[in-house]
Symmetry: C2
């Protein structure tokens, strides 16, 4: 339904609601003793128009797939969002006064612990990429759901916003409407563009968006703009709303020095009194626009069993990245919830195989990793199982998004290829050597590190099956197959690959270093030294039981070896598991910035080859 003309009563209603949002935001932040009332006040009219006239949603089912979607990218304006849902009837107003308390769900910035929040925000420039993901999902589901993303002006300096801008236009996402609350003032001073609306306009037009400039405090103009957005086909719309920070708060409106500061009690009371005077009583006449008429897509279920690995022990050597591509391809055939995202490396990560089979569920993100990960967060929030893949090193580009995905507890999957010095000639800029440190730092991430094609296949299936953020570490070179297709892999379980009665030391490895360890095993065996070999497979959670038992059965001495930097890698994970038991763990890892060269030469040169393992074993014993 399109609102072509707003009645006088509707305008009064929306103005009253906006006033209440301002009052609530002032009161909640003053009660909390911290927060951002002025950033709420500039956005109050926009939020009022959206929540109480534009959006179709059932306030009793805030996460229904039939609802229109609202993403608060400027997460520091959380109180205005909380107030809107309270006004919509989801919870009583008094609850707003628990803002920022340890036991309240109303945190300083929104998180998906709240049923009406898709992703945590508060790191700026992330809402639009997420909005793109939700919009792509709606298109995929053939839903006429509309997606609204409210951004701040300061955050539009973030490059991630422009990554989304270019792709949103490229993908013709006309179900997406972004709004920038151009309130002129950042945290520590005026923004770069202040109120130069014409510059904003030129930029978004050049990026292919339909652009509407409005007075962000003129509710009638806002309603017209939202109508125009809905009528615009073939491209997304951005509403550039000229606003004043602290709008409606006496003495503070448009003033510098008031970012992120609650009003002292007396000033708050005075400001609220002024605001209350303007209330007409219309606000309580509001009734929601339910999305009843809208078809809700059924949750798609897998159409078949998980495909089994096709690789035979002793068969042709296969890279783990290739096995991931193969597995994803087969998985896509039986699980319609699985989608894939790429950053122009699909021929290196082998997701081009998935693209061929399921082009409508393959999203080319071009060379823009932040937006790719952000889109995957939106897709995951709406029930998809998104696999994003690129070179492991380029996920560092999106670490802040990965961090926010962890805070959001989203079901996102990442596959990082080309890890370590074993990629060879391309040199250090293309080597993922800090990816375990990065993904492993997030406490709720599962981190899998398969060594051969069979275990990489299994890791892909396990990742799809697990509900929660997951990272799979994948290598470039071809490796032998060491596991049979019916070998069972589990998250949190390692594999003992070599063991005997006279093992004098345990060596833990994964990926290319596992094969170096197996070479070392053979060589040491010839010299009469038995070692036990564990393929770690699951870095996080770690298989402490197997590691402990193996270490105890192998002389209580452990060596780890990894194609990763020393800090925050596989070795640290093993040390964490065994250190409290006092079992010495000796790490072998890459300890300096590497260089170009042939893969095997680099494995030697940077000290993670069988030679280094043999030497370390002898040194320790």
């Amino acid at each position: 339904m399109v609102t072509t003309a707003a009645s006088v009563n509707l305008l009064k209603l929306l103005q009253d609601k906006a006033t209440r949002l301002r009052i609530d935001s002032i009161r909640a932040t003053t009660a909390a003793g911290s927060g951002h009332p002025t950033s709420c006040a500039s956005a109050a009219d926009i939020v009022s128009a959206l929540f109480f006239s534009v959006m179709r949603y059932d306030p009793k089912q805030p996460h229904s797939p039939a609802n229109d979607v609202f993403v608060l990218s400027k997460g520091h304006a959380a109180p205005v969002l909380y107030s809107a849902w309270s006004e919509a009837g989801l919870f009583p107003r008094e609850h707003l006064l628990t803002l920022r308390q340890t036991n309240s769900d109303l945190e300083g910035h929104p998180t998906p612990k709240l049923p009406y929040v898709d992703v945590a925000t508060g790191s700026l420039g992330q809402g639009l990429p997420v909005g793109l993901g939700i919009a792509l999902n709606a298109k995929l589901e053939k839903s006429d759901q509309r997606i609204y993303v409210l951004m701040g002006d300061g955050e539009s300096a973030e490059g991630s916003v422009w990554e989304s801008a270019e792709l949103g236009a490229n993908d013709a996402l006309d179900n997406l409407c972004a709004i920038i609350d151009v309130n002129r003032l950042g945290q520590s001073g005026p923004t770069m563009l202040q109120h130069h609306m014409e510059v904003y306009k030129a930029r978004w037009e050049a990026f292919g968006w339909h652009v509407i400039v409005v007075d962000g405090h003129d509710i009638s103009a806002l309603l017209k703009a939202f109508d125009e957005a809905e009528e615009t086909k073939g491209k997304p719309t951005i509403i550039l709303a000229r606003t004043l920070k602290g709008k409606g708060i006496v003495g503070i409106e448009d003033k510098e020095g008031w970012h992120g500061k609650p009003l002292p009690k007396e000033e708050a009371d005075r400001a609220v009194a002024v605001l209350e005077k303007s209330l007409t009583g219309e606000a309580d006449t509001w009734t929601p626009k339910l999305p009843d008429q809208r078809a809700t897509p059924a949750v798609a279920s897998p159409t078949g069993a998980m495909p089994t690995s096709p690789y035979a022990i002793g068969g042709k050597e296969v890279a783990t990245r290739k096995a991931f591509g193969d597995a994803l391809h087969e998985l896509g055939k039986v699980n319609p919830r699985v989608v894939a995202l790429d950053a122009d490396v699909k021929n290196s990560t082998f997701t081009e195989e998935f693209m061929t089979t399921a082009p409508q569920r393959f999203f080319e993100g071009y060379i823009a990793e932040q937006n790719m990960v952000g889109m995957s967060m939106g897709l995951a929030a709406r029930g998809k199982i998104p696999f994003s893949s690129t070179f492991a090193c380029f996920f560092t580009r999106a670490f802040d998004f990965i961090r926010m995905a962890a805070i959001s507890q989203l079901n996102v999957k990442f596959a990082g290829t080309h890890v370590g010095v074993s990629i060879g000639e391309d040199g250090p800029s293309q080597m993922g050597l800090e990816d375990i440190a990065m993904f492993g730092a997030e406490p709720n991430f599962t981190v899998l590190y398969p060594s051969d094609a069979t275990s990489a296949w299994a890791a892909t299936m396990l990742a799809a099956d697990l509900v929660g953020p997951t990272y799979i570490r994948l290598g470039r070179p071809n490796n032998p197959i060491v596991y049979s297709p019916d070998e069972k892999f589990e998250i949190g379980k390692s594999k003992v690959l070599r063991q005997g009665n006279n093992d004098r030391i345990l060596v833990v490895a994964a990926g290319v270093t596992l094969f170096e360890t197996l070479k070392a095993y053979d060589e040491l065996k010839k010299g009469g030294i038995d070692i036990r070999v564990v393929d770690l497979f699951s870095v996080q959670p770690i298989d402490r039981a197997t590691l402990l038992a193996s270490a105890r059965a192998a002389g209580n001495q452990v060596i780890t070896v990894e194609d990763h930097y020393s800090h925050g890698g596989l070795g640290d994970a093993v040390q964490s598991a065994l250190s409290p038991s006092g079992i010495p763990v000796h790490k072998i890892a890459v300890t300096e910035i590497p260089h170009s060269g042939k893969p095997q030469e680099l494995v030697e040169k940077f000290g993670i080859s069988s030679k280094s393992i043999v030497a370390k074993v002898k040194e320790v014993l």
Copy 2:
């Protein structure tokens, strides 16, 4: 000097040079068996025009501050850069055939091991931020040095490019000229915009740049464009060069499927033979345009001794972030090489103090952390000591830049504030809980974690004095002062804060957890349990000697406690130091996604308070 008309001979010379660049690129990549000849071929005419007519530089002193600067942002086109310097006479042509070998300095992507490379490239979208930093440095030094950045078209999808675009225009950097080699083809398919030059043009114009669209294979047009760029004042210029990937290579020009592939020997020979036929012999008549007439800025020296800390033991409580701001402010007064960069949080990191004293050396980067870090890389490459600061969590936004700064071995300094759950009410999105994992993973980074204002002051001075990438971890809350102003801190050295003859366990901490440990010390003491307390201070390099001696003197049992996630933090660093000696290390850290709340409540709730330490000590003993 401006070239207003190119003579016929000059054109022939430049065409010949371009042809040689193509020939060299083909030969080198074929010899290496990998690499990107087609990405070199599209850029060859641009590089020829720059190196052999436009740029003023002394080929014998490639890093002279008087030279014009060239940044190859599309680092995969490294062979064309190497060939240009060989053509300029820096090294013999035969050396090009060592490309990508383990012992060659000609790596797959350029690194500053080469005297003519400022920063490592190969992760796309980083050259322009770096170029901005070098351009800011030239403005600061009142040099008329010009800076040229050659980008690929695919990489302009990276948001970091647009962060630089907006700031380059905002800062009116007319000494900066970017060129996009619009060759239409990415790695795995066509780029988003292919050859739609008008879309590129509209975008860069909207971002405030002077835009010139040219045929990137028309050398005369390129020379005219570079002249126009030099004449353009008050804004940077971008030259949008329409090119063909593989230009001049028979059978491959403008063809998909040839990204990152060397020509097989026979095809290479055939392609080279065709190219050689077009050579006129003019190339060898080239003489460099020396920048003799240009004043070289003297290297600035400190004008005074390092300022000493003003905080007294038992004095007013001060946050470590405030002490950093104070120290940087004083440092700026005596060391003209020190510059500061901000991402709109200068009132939280207290770099606004520096801004007040040295506004010309303070660079406001707005909310765009990637570009901020990239600019600092450019400034460091040109001899400045740049301190970038923001909330620790937002440095995750720039991890890929930090990674490349590590590869580049640059003298960059990062100060991350607001670490851990102890920030309180703002909630998890604002808490730096993975920053030690991130910075510590890079093997050549120094990581300092001061606990009180005096040690934070010292850390700032040490960071400025050290040549190499450095991170300082800083907290939000005010803490007591525990060190006297004349306490000597060293990189790689910890402090034993409590010790006795009956110590039964060692507790290692830093930041807010140090104060929790001191509380635990007092409480345990009352209960008759003596503990030894070490303030780690230097996380990387770590003070293994002090840790080992302290552990041995304290019952061979260690507890670490940190306001950081468990993986990759302070505890892992201590475990790495002690695990090989078999000393058990028990970690206390934040093990789940935290929540908003009062700082002390969160320290309790997430298990890093004195209570948790006391409990752990008793459990271990």
